[in-house]
């Protein structure tokens, strides 16, 4: 089966307050054009409101609201493009305490991986 016209996402799901362990959930997001990972996360949330992500952004690749791990690399979601036909793995940025799914607490950086300042 062809993947054209959609992006397949393996998304990290974990709510520390209710789940015993993390799992991955597969989403198929229809898209005829390349979109940023920021837009991708919002579209997953719109398809499945229980998937949590931050949706505010600066539109400049500067604020870091959209920090995430995509295919094992730590990226700015707004500055990383995914294309129709792609299959990607989406995880939370590992540098901060996890709140839920890909949402982290930026005020609590984890000691091993401090966020670089500006």
């Amino acid at each position: 089966m062809s993947n054209r016209g959609r992006i397949i996402v393996q998304a990290y799901r974990f709510d520390p307050s209710t789940d015993s362990e993390p799992r991955f959930e597969i989403y198929e997001i229809p898209s005829a054009e390349p979109i940023s990972v920021m837009v991708l996360m919002r579209k997953i949330h719109e398809m499945d409101p229980t998937f949590a992500c931050r949706t505010s952004m600066c539109f400049k690749g500067a604020c870091g609201s959209c920090l995430a791990r995509v295919d094992g690399k730590d990226v700015l979601g707004c500055s990383t493009l995914v294309r129709p036909g792609d299959t990607v793995t989406l995880e939370p940025h590992p540098g901060f305490k996890l709140i839920r799914d890909v949402v982290v607490d930026f005020a609590r950086p984890l000691s091993s991986q401090r966020e670089s300042r500006e």
Binding site: S17, T50, F59, K60, A107
Partner: protein, 566 residues
């Protein structure tokens, strides 16, 4: 769903952008026990981080407070409250110096003085430039707030304000979004610094959280909302490709002195005459071209610097700001090499909560700061006023709120009715196991109809249609249900935002219907001319016994004893 936790504080500041954080700093510096709540993450949400980084302040040797005052009043087309403009122009330089003290960097001339740009409508070079734009401003303020000793609660969404039996402010009922826990905050002073409502429009360059919550919180307490019909539209917001939606490109930079390009229609014909007309006229010209069928399939126009006589090198050298580097390097949209598809979009809320010179709302204990507060600029604003207003009025609101808290003998008690109303706002949507799948479609529908009827061309006919369309969406909103289980209650916050947006859209509709003239950013196709005799006045909306009261109000001049600056 009653409060499960209680917090007490002297000053509660709602909003974590430039306005809220500056307010919190002022309150903490005045010695008040201060709590700043933000519904997202500070420095990574809200509207400030999208700012290009200009702040109007009359430092330049050819400039003065008098010139600044005259420019703001002139380009507000007669609707600015002069007493507030007076506060703005007198405070701007001092607040820029505060920002430097907080560690915020500005661009400098080679000799070390602050670089200042002269933007359209300014009589002298007046915009100081933030070195790292809106994000740099927020990082500096954020660090200062943490140092100040104020308490910062992120991912905390206010549901409604609380009032005592005598009507004075008693605090707020909110949601700790991360834990899904309802919290009552008791405070004698509350400052609304929640920003604008631009998320109501389908085309905007503001983030999704600009939902106007604070306006509705203040309105429900009895505060007046002023000039809601005045939404500033920016001419050239990117509408395609999807990855770049929400970014904007400066239409001013297609002028001859800059990149020397054109805004073109689908056939490549330039739409704007040169030199470009002023902002509101330029936008109506673009809008009209789209309405006349000259737009692209997606309803846009082409921002085009590719045929500049200055050549690629010169254009590319000019387009080096954060958003241009982002578009070019990250999204593969190079404005120096290819046309960009744009349309006018909602950019700034000129109206808002009516305030006086001390940022007071008329409700004892309730203060508001622009962009959530209105009536500073009028029917249009100059570049650099938005950030300046956050700093000037934030500093005043924080100080005033701290003073009031100090004078308050004891912590106010919210009335039973006020508590129940606030908690009912959440309770009505709760159902175990429910997931609000319909929410994104309702929000999209709302943004489409507001975009259609409340953008650059308004008419009684369109506004009447909008009334029934909003009522239908409100009915559908009431059917949404969500479960309050688990962490990060994003969907519940989105339902509360949508409720605020729907109620605010109806008030905005009434204000736009009342003003039967065209002025600044408000254009009525059925009343296409400015009518100074009839409409040099504000529109005011307040909660009445049987629903909204919509009426006219006078423009305020300078306070007694002050001379009009010339």
């Amino acid at each position: 769903m009653n409060a499960q936790e209680r917090i007490k504080t002297d000053v509660l500041v709602i909003g974590g952008g430039a306005a809220g954080v500056r307010t919190g700093l002022a309150a903490a510096e005045a010695g008040a026990d201060t709590t700043v709540v933000c519904k997202g993450a500070v420095s990574r949400s809200g509207i400030t981080i999208t700012a290009g980084g200009g702040i109007q302040a009359p430092f330049h040797k050819s400039d003065s407070e008098e010139l600044f005052f005259a420019d703001v009043v002139k380009y507000g087309y007669g609707l600015a409250d002069e007493d507030l403009v007076d506060v703005l122009v007198r405070g701007a330089c001092a607040r820029v110096l505060d920002l430097e003290r907080y560690g915020v960097a500005f661009r400098k001339e080679p000799g070390g003085s602050r670089l200042q740009f002269k933007m359209p409508g300014q009589s002298a070079p007046r915009n100081v430039r933030l070195a790292a734009e809106g994000v740099g401003l927020m990082r500096g303020l954020h660090r200062a707030l943490i140092r100040s000793g104020a308490t910062l609660l992120e991912d905390f969404a206010v549901v409604d304000l609380l009032q005592s039996n005598d009507g004075s402010i008693a605090g707020a009922f909110g949601l700790d979004v991360r834990r899904g826990v309802p919290v009552e905050v008791r405070a004698p002073s509350v400052v609304v610094a929640t920003g604008g409502s631009q998320s109501l429009w389908d085309v905007t360059d503001c983030p999704a959280d600009a939902t106007g919550d604070g306006l509705m919180h203040a309105y429900r307490c009895g505060a007046e909302l002023i000039d809601l019909e005045m939404i500033l539209f920016y001419p050239s917001v990117v509408i395609h490709p999807p990855a770049a939606q929400g970014s904007f490109v400066h239409y001013e930079w297609l002028e001859e002195w800059a990149c020397d390009g054109e805004i073109r229609d689908r056939d490549g014909v330039p739409v704007l005459p040169k030199p470009f007309p002023v902002r509101d006229v330029a936008m109506r010209t673009l809008w009209q071209a789209i309405e006349d069928g000259r737009g692209t399939e997606r309803g846009g126009l082409w921002w085009d610097a590719t045929q500049s006589p200055k050549g690629y090198q010169a254009v590319d050298a000019f387009l080096q700001g954060q958003q241009y580097r982002y578009l070019r390097d990250k999204l593969g949209v190079d404005p120096s090499k290819e046309k960009v598809e744009v349309a006018p979009g909602a950019h700034y809320q000129l109206g808002g909560i009516r305030i006086d010179r001390r940022a007071g709302t008329g409700i004892p204990g309730l203060y508001a700061v622009p962009e959530a507060a209105g009536n500073v600029e009028g029917a249009n604003r100059l570049s650099g006023s938005a950030l300046a207003s956050t700093q000037v009025f934030g500093e005043i609101a924080g100080r005033e709120a701290a003073d009031l808290a100090r004078l308050s003998k004891r912590l106010p008690t919210p009335s039973t009715g006020s508590r129940r109303k606030a908690s009912d706002r959440i309770r009505q949507y709760l159902q175990t196991g429910a997931i609000p799948y319909e929410l994104p479609e309702l929000r999209s529908a709302l943004r489409r109809i507001v975009g259609r009827h409340l953008s650059l061309r308004r008419s009684a006919e369109g506004l009447e249609k909008l009334r029934s369309e909003l009522a239908e969406l409100s009915d559908r909103l009431r059917t949404l249900r969500v479960s309050l289980a688990g962490s990060f209650q994003q969907s519940l916050v989105e339902i509360l935002e949508l409720e605020n947006m729907l109620e605010l859209a109806e008030l905005l509709r009434q204000a736009a219907l009342l003003r039967q003239e065209s002025r600044g950013h408000h254009y009525r196709s059925d009343f296409p001319h400015r009518d100074d005799a009839g409409w040099t006045c504000h529109t005011l909306l307040s909660a009445g016994e049987d629903g909204p009261r919509c009426q006219r109000g006078p423009i305020r001049g300078l306070p007694d004893g002050k001379e009009t600056p010339r």
